[in-house]
């Protein structure tokens, strides 16, 4: 029985090879359609990777007024220590801040050139709750204390970025689902045309005792193979696009002191892409043949 599967598979391959142009067009269309959601997914996954390296534990930076004075500072520290929502805090004096800045980013020359230190004293606060809304409430509260110039929520952008990536991912899945429907319908139509050219064979087979399963099999292989080839095309499109983008990405990343590189599809993701494209082709073919068999009547002379 395995023999029949092999023969059917090679038959389907031969059929695809016998109409190279039509096969190429179909495979390209499927490939392009699939590379849209798969490429988007890849881009989002890469961005997620990149932002994962960043501090996501949000902090509040509390900047003091330049003329706050020791009394106000003591009062602020007392309030920080006793506040229920605050986990830790540390003081960053203006001198230290300038030193860190010039050491960290190679701006030493710039700092040395300044007539006086423009940085304020600051407290870096981490909260007990990581929730952005809670953090923002806390930020607002501390910003109104005596001697405070301003309070800023750091790393909130990372959260926001993550939220946007999630949204992007959801949109990608919706897009993928829509394209999946389109692909099934398109494949169904391709198989329908295949069926029409092989109607005699189906009729004779049915007349001499073929089951619907037997009749369906070659078309299922045809659909799955075409889907698989489309998936491979999508994979190739994505790999080439990632390579092309990387030329520019690495230039951009160097500017930010990062070694960020767009990664191609991971092996697991690629397997999922190929598997689902083959599966969609299979389903399209299944629906087309079943529809045909349901409405098929044996013709008479």
């Amino acid at each position: 029985m395995m023999g029949r599967h092999w023969r059917t598979l090679s038959g389907a391959l031969r059929r695809l090879a016998s109409t190279p142009l039509a096969t190429l067009v179909t495979v390209s269309v499927i490939g392009i359609a699939l590379s849209l959601p798969a490429g988007l997914y890849l881009l989002l996954a890469n961005l997620g990777q990149a932002s994962n390296g960043l501090e996501v534990q949000p902090q509040i930076s509390l900047f003091l007024k330049p003329d706050a004075g020791k009394d106000a500072q003591r009062q602020i520290e007392k309030q920080l220590r006793s506040h229920a929502a605050i986990k830790t805090f540390r003081f960053v004096g203006r001198d230290q801040a300038l030193k860190e800045l010039s050491a960290g980013n190679g701006l030493g020359d710039l700092a040395a050139g300044l007539p006086n230190n423009p940085l304020p004293d600051a407290y870096i606060i981490t909260a007990r709750e990581n929730d952005v809304a809670q953090m923002d409430k806390l930020r607002l509260e501390v910003s109104q204390w005596q001697g405070v110039e301003t309070a800023e929520l750091d790393s909130a952008w990372a959260k926001r970025l993550n939220a946007m990536l999630d949204l992007g991912l959801q949109l990608t899945f919706i897009l993928a689902a829509l394209l999946a429907f389109g692909l099934i319908a398109g494949m169904g139509n391709i198989i329908r045309l295949q069926i029409l050219t092989r109607q005699d064979e189906i009729e004779v087979s049915k007349l001499i005792g073929a089951t619907d399963r037997f009749i369906r099999l070659p078309f299922l292989y045809h659909g799955a193979l075409q889907g698989l080839l489309g998936g491979l095309a999508a994979w190739a499109i994505i790999a080439v696009s990632a390579q092309l983008l990387n030329l520019n990405v690495s230039r951009l990343a160097t500017l930010y002191g990062s070694a960020f590189q767009l990664e191609g599809l991971a092996l697991g993701d690629a397997a999922a892409l190929l598997g689902s494209s083959a599966f969609l082709g299979w389903i399209g073919a299944y629906l087309a043949v079943s529809h045909f068999l349901r409405h098929f009547r044996i013709s008479h002379h």
């Binding site: 004779v204 001499i208 002379h301």
Partner: protein, 216 residues
């Protein structure tokens, strides 16, 4: 083996091709069906092979009532038959060998066994040398013999032949009928449709005579 009782067939559109047909054929019998063009001969074969449903009456094949057959069981019923169609129904996109092989592929025969049986069937009808030929390149008589090879390759218990000698001269027709007789002698039930009364006379077998859908 084959038993019809009060079978009628009315086609969509209202034409009644068969009226109140009752007969039965025993296992191992050889029977002719004769009648004028449009008498309902092909319709009768189509009902027996479960290709068309009867409008009324019951048909029993090998003890199975066709009316009670699940659709999924129909293919397996059909494998009891060797069918020779009036319009041949050969597949013109594959060679002689592959045409004959088809019934064995359908029943899931192992490849080498299938090839062996295919050659045996082709040998029986004298087409072994032509196995690579496309059907379109065969003469009318050769095409008819190809149909016979395809009908017998899976060793059916019932042979239903619709005008198997349709466009052959009487010498050839006699040869083919001898072939059917030899199948019949090894136990195959044979039902042959023909409008050639002289042929029937020559063989002198039991004959069902149809006239305007009525068994005379």
């Amino acid at each position: 083996m084959i038993s019809l009782s009060q079978v009628s067939k009315r086609y969509p559109g209202g034409f009644e091709a068969l009226k109140d047909i009752s007969f039965s054929i025993e296992k191992g019998e050889m029977v002719f069906v004769s009648g004028h063009s449009g008498a309902g001969k092909s319709t009768l074969l189509n009902l027996i092979a479960a290709i068309e449903p009867p409008s009324s009456g019951s048909i029993i094949i090998n003890g199975q009532n066709l009316a009670q057959l699940r659709p999924a069981a129909v293919p397996f019923l059909r494998r009891n038959f060797g069918l020779i169609f009036q319009d041949h129904k050969l597949l013109y996109d594959r060679n002689v060998f592959d045409n004959v092989m088809l019934p064995l592929e359908i029943t899931g025969f192992e490849r080498s066994e299938a090839a062996k049986r295919t050659r045996a069937a082709l040998d029986k009808v004298g087409l072994l040398e032509r196995e690579k030929t496309m059907p379109i390149a065969l003469s009318g008589g050769e095409q008819q013999r190809l149909c016979i090879a395809r009908a017998i390759v899976h060793r059916p218990s019932i042979l239903l032949a619709d005008e198997p000698t349709g466009n052959l001269d009487s010498a050839y027709a006699g040869e083919i009928l001898e072939m059917f007789k030899s199948f019949n002698q090894v136990g195959v039930t044979v039902l042959i449709v023909t409008h050639d009364e002289r042929l029937i006379e020559r063989f002198g077998a039991r004959t069902l005579h149809l006239q305007h859908g009525i068994l005379a």
